[in-house]
């Protein structure tokens, strides 16, 4: 299998390094090779698109062009980066005139994007390239009676025409969670917004959105939330802790990153999976083996 150009973005090395650590570990086990590209930058995320559509396209195109130069498709861990790069890729592949304009703006960098690569999310790589059956075969410590509130969030699944992650409503993440022996519960908020994107604009609003989701997962008797995005993880971990302190509403519903959930079931090193790096302790997971 060809390696993927590994796109890290800003948020993971700043706040959720254990997402990267655990993802690298599980991908290695399944023979998915990653190439780190030093010249990759910030993806040019949604706030940049709010400021200027042209700058959003140009920054995204620069990153796409770097992967294209290596002849590789991109894999993102962050749903935000995935959304940005998928969207830019969609626009530049569909509209060759627009691509020409943006490439003109890229000229000083010595790069140009030809529209030849694909952008995938970590979950898509596990589901499509590795496959649920292969994952099941590698589970040595399956979970028992563990109820997981699987959280797709927004940008792994919407807009569906752009990200092309499969069916609506989506099932791929539920299938990946259930491959570990856990049960993915039918909670209603699994593909709605975590509140992360408005954290900078209005913290109370971000906390409102987050709290509603946690309460919903709790009502569905979930033991853990499970995420695959640094923004969702920060909301469900650090912001949940803040909700407990500031509002006195303690839900005590820990959030585990998917590669941590999978890595534990594959009996990997808990230190390197960053199990202790979560703000809300994951220790209770031991009672479900």
């Amino acid at each position: 299998m060809k390696p993927y150009a590994f796109f890290l973005g800003c948020s993971i090395p700043a706040r959720v390094n254990h997402y990267e650590a655990s993802s690298r570990m599980v991908l290695k086990e399944f023979g998915v090779d990653l190439l780190d590209i030093e010249r990759f930058s910030c993806c040019g995320p949604v706030p940049l698109r709010s400021i200027s559509f042209d700058m959003f396209l140009t920054v995204g195109a620069r990153n796409l062009a770097l992967a294209e130069t290596e002849g590789l498709d991109i894999m993102c861990l962050c749903s935000g980066c995935f959304s940005t790069l998928s969207d830019v890729n969609h626009q530049l592949r569909e509209d060759s005139e627009l691509r020409k304009d943006i490439n003109k703006k890229l000229e000083p960098t010595g790069l140009a994007y030809g529209g030849k690569i694909a952008v995938k999310h970590f979950l898509n790589v596990l589901h499509q390239d590795v496959g649920v059956n292969t994952i099941k075969k590698r589970i040595v410590r399956p979970y028992k009676d563990l109820r997981i509130a699987t959280h797709y969030g927004c940008h792994t699944v919407r807009p569906s025409k752009v990200v092309q992650s499969g069916t609506i409503p989506p099932v791929f993440f539920d299938e990946l969670v259930e491959a570990t022996g856990a049960e993915s519960v039918d909670w209603s908020a699994k593909a709605s917004c975590c509140g992360g994107p408005v954290l900078g604009a209005d913290e109370q609003l971000a906390m409102d959105l987050c709290e509603k989701k946690i309460a919903d997962a709790k009502a569905w008797k979930a033991d853990f939330l499970c995420t695959s995005c640094p923004f969702c993880q920060v909301q469900f971990d650090s912001i949940q802790a803040k909700i407990a302190t500031d509002r006195g509403n303690a839900y005590d519903l820990p959030s585990i990153l998917y590669p941590q959930l999978l890595g534990l079931a594959m009996d990997m090193d808990t230190d390197l999976l960053g199990i202790d790096n979560n703000r809300i302790s994951l220790d209770s997971i031991d009672t479900f083996f």
Partner: protein
């Protein structure tokens, strides 16, 4: 209660605005809106504020789309809905007319920043400053990377991004001092 959209619109309408603002094919789809309110019903921000939504957001998503069609530029650009949108794409996904509601909102924000600097929220300004000053949105936690045996990040891409954003005119667009 004051109606959201004034009944006498002759003085407020800007016909050029209707035709000229959209730079993406997606945003041009606002013309297909037939005001079914699906976008507003699916919006998590509207749902969060419930009966206070009108007061907090000024225009709800379907009202935004319609006000764009009417050319009510100031009413549109001054709506808080623009800055509190989480870009979750729920509206866009379920619109029966294929209106890219979220992308229209992005375009409106671009226009607001170009023409009305006073409307730009502080958080967005801080984001732009971080990108220009550091080439990334948040500081790397080096000690944690070391503990987890993760590769060191060289910062080569950050420096190139800073240079590119300078060439593209981001400092001038946000009125950064010294630009």
């Amino acid at each position: 209660m004051e109606p959201a959209i004034p009944l006498n619109m002759n003085t407020d309408r800007d016909k050029g605005f209707i035709n000229s603002m959209f730079s993406s094919i997606q945003a041009r789809t606002s013309a297909y809106c037939f005001r079914c309110i699906t976008c507003t019903n699916g919006c998590p921000i509207v749902l969060n504020y419930r009966e206070q939504a009108k007061e907090k957001l000024d225009l709800l998503p379907h009202q935004l789309m319609y006000a764009v069609r009417l050319g009510l530029k100031d009413l549109v650009l001054e709506s808080q809905m623009l800055w509190l949108c989480t870009e979750c794409y729920m509206c866009t996904e379920y619109c029966p007319q294929g209106v890219h509601v979220c992308d229209v909102i992005y375009e409106l924000k671009n226009l607001a920043i170009k023409e009305r600097k006073d409307l730009m929220p502080r958080g967005l300004r801080l984001f732009a400053h971080a990108l220009l000053d550091n080439g990334r949105t948040a500081e790397i936690m080096d000690w944690e990377r070391e503990d987890l045996e993760l590769p060191e990040l060289s910062g080569a891409g950050d420096a190139e991004l800073q240079e590119l954003l300078g060439q593209l005119g981001l400092p001038q667009l946000i009125d950064k001092e010294g630009s």
